[in-house]
């Protein structure tokens, strides 16, 4: 059974079609990168996967069960979402924000604190633990939100999990980008499927087992990073000329902007 399975899914949250005929499959432990120009439907795809918008046609099954058939609580135990923007303006401490990620779990204080310690180190936020969230910098806030969604699905509780990340590294410095990438990879190894929307193609190339390119609400290309990230794709979808090389150490595709 695959973690996520979409068959000919259409979605039209605002009257017009924003996604058409989406075919997608993701296994537990797999990392999927989503790329595409502004307004192509990347975030809509993520909202579709998270259940925020419902399919108007086709089938979307999460763990073999139609997405609409899930109750909120059980779904929150297997599915966590990092939104692009977070508008929290109440003075929670960092620790309180991260522990909100444990809301769907009835795992008890001790185990929640254990998870807290682990995600604090996975996002390098331990030093911020007692700070007020609203007084943090943009990059710090992003790491705290990441820690919150990590905390939600950190533990393997007998079922595969799915993590949806909408541009998770936009505000992060290089060191923290690498840390988050390592943490996400580590999480995937424990059986968590990950979907990352990103404009950083080299990050996608390094992280993803599978890449999809979205354009005009449709998936125009799907496959391994090597097969999707091509000069042709960049010209057709993004309208730019790039050079595709190979990373000298990792061997992943390397996209060089001109």
């Amino acid at each position: 059974m695959s973690l996520v399975k979409l068959k000919k899914v259409d979605a039209a949250p605002w009257g017009e079609f924003s996604l058409q005929q989406i075919e997608l499959e993701l296994a537990a432990g797999e990392v999927l990168g989503v790329i595409g120009p502004n307004g192509a439907g990347k975030t809509s795809l993520l909202k579709l996967l998270s259940g925020d918008i419902s399919p108007t046609g086709g089938n979307y099954e999460l763990l073999g069960k139609a997405i609409s058939a899930w109750e909120p609580m059980p779904r929150a135990r297997v599915l966590a979402v990092l939104p692009q923007l977070s508008l929290l303006n109440f003075p929670y401490t960092v620790e309180e924000v991260i522990l909100l990620g444990r809301t769907p779990h009835r795992s008890g204080l001790d185990s929640d604190r254990q998870v807290l310690r682990e995600v604090l180190s996975a996002t390098d936020t331990a030093a911020l633990q007692g700070r007020i969230y609203t007084q943090l910098s943009g990059g710090e806030k992003q790491r705290v939100q990441l820690a919150r969604v990590f905390a939600q699905i950190w533990r393997d509780e007998g079922s595969p999990r799915l993590l949806l990340l909408d541009e998770p590294t936009t505000a992060l410095d290089l060191a923290h980008q690498q840390l988050i990438m390592e943490s996400v990879k580590g999480l995937a190894k424990t059986g968590c499927g990950v979907v990352i929307v990103a404009h950083d193609f080299n990050l996608v190339a390094a992280m993803a087992d599978q890449v999809v390119a979205v354009s005009g609400g449709q998936l125009v290309s799907r496959g391994s990073p090597e097969t999707v990230l091509t000069q042709n794709l960049f010209e057709e979808v993004f309208g730019v000329r790039v050079i595709i090389s190979t990373h000298p150490e990792s061997g992943h595709p390397l996209v060089i902007h001109l």
């Binding site: 259940g51 599915l79 977070s86 303006n89 809301t103």
Partner: protein, 343 residues
């Protein structure tokens, strides 16, 4: 962790302060009583011997009024905390969903219609019923204006609440314009909010509603905590957002409707108290809701005591006192808000 402890301490201190404040209110007024006289009067009244002067003053005049103040204060402040959480807006106040304006209009209508026919107790009861029904009807209107097949938008609710408040205010003004002097004075006195109509039947009604609220609201504490992150974030954390919205709005509409019906419009308690409490406990609603209820009780009992004392033997409407004391205090909070991380 520290905040958890601090929150519990705040709740404990407030819970200890409330009986003290109530005793203070019982002892002070047009006829000052010493602590011993107050306690003695209260003891006599409660043990069924209500014939002494102190027992009459304490038991029949002050006790129902002060307890009503405590109950109404708890309802208004906890409703304010819940609304600020639901709207994710620290400036939200229970009147935002139109309940206060609707209740005001309902009461004005009743005063105009019954003013010349029904007097005294029956009139007061009719006005209360009018206020309660008016409050609920306007919340219903605001809620349905903000609801669509896609769900209920709190942003639209806020705007619809402002619109309905303005509409009810306009209609109320029209009534006042057409009313004669005696009725005009009745309407404006009612609007200022007062607890002078307090008696035991009213206290029982308010107490029951308050009790039900104190049981119901904490059920929403975790959901409100998650909602501060945003609606879709709360949904992703497993919260049934639509159900929480309806539950909270019903709670607040009934609670504030009752409070306004029995004590008129009392300004600022629902806005200021949650603010003050949040500075001490942080935004976690598991602590914020009970602490706000207790702080609201204390504050309104104190304000009412002040209202009875300042111009004694004349009693000021308590709404005037809360506004006059509350607003300068609130402004000083606003100027220091960055100290506690409020944007």
């Amino acid at each position: 962790m520290n905040r958890d402890l601090q929150g519990r301490q705040v709740i404990l201190v407030l819970a200890l302060a409330l009986p003290v404040v109530i005793l203070l209110g019982l002892g002070n007024g047009a006829v000052p009583l010493s602590a011993a006289e107050t306690m003695g009067g209260l003891w006599h009244y409660l043990s069924g011997d209500g014939s002494s002067q102190a027992a009459i003053i304490v038991g029949q005049l002050r006790l129902p009024r002060i307890l009503l103040a405590a109950v109404v204060g708890a309802i208004l402040a906890s409703s304010g905390a819940a609304m600020q959480g639901l709207f994710r807006n620290p400036l939200a106040d229970p009147s935002l969903i139109g309940v206060t304006a609707g209740a005001s209009l309902g009461a004005s209508l009743m005063i105009v219609m019954s003013g010349s026919v029904v007097f005294g107790y029956a009139g007061l009861t009719l006005i209360s019923i009018g206020a309660f029904v008016g409050g609920l009807l306007s919340v219903l209107l605001v809620y349905s204006l903000a609801s669509s097949p896609n769900g209920t938008s709190v942003a639209t609710m806020l705007l619809a609440g402002i619109a309905i408040t303005a509409l009810a205010g306009g209609l109320g003004n029209l009534l006042e314009f057409l009313a004669d002097n005696e009725i005009l004075r009745q309407i404006s006195l009612w609007r200022m909010g007062g607890l002078d109509g307090a008696d035991y039947p009213r206290l029982v009604i308010a107490g029951l509603v308050c009790g039900a609220m104190m049981l119901a609201l904490p059920q929403f504490a975790t959901a409100l905590n998650a909602l501060l992150l945003g609606e879709s974030e709360a949904r992703h954390l497993g919260i049934n957002v639509a159900r929480v919205k309806i539950g909270l709005i019903v709670c607040v509409a009934i609670g504030v409707g009752t409070a306004v019906a029995l004590a008129g419009t009392i300004a600022f308690v629902g806005l200021i108290v949650p603010h003050m409490v949040r500075m001490l406990t942080g935004p976690d609603h598991r602590r914020l809701l009970p602490a706000s209820a207790l702080a609201g009780s204390c504050l309104l009992v104190l304000a009412d005591t002040a209202a009875r004392l300042v111009l004694a033997p004349t009693e000021l409407p308590v709404g005037v006192v809360t506004a006059l004391i509350g607003v300068p205090f609130f402004i000083s909070l606003l100027r220091r808000r960055h100290h506690y991380g409020m944007q």
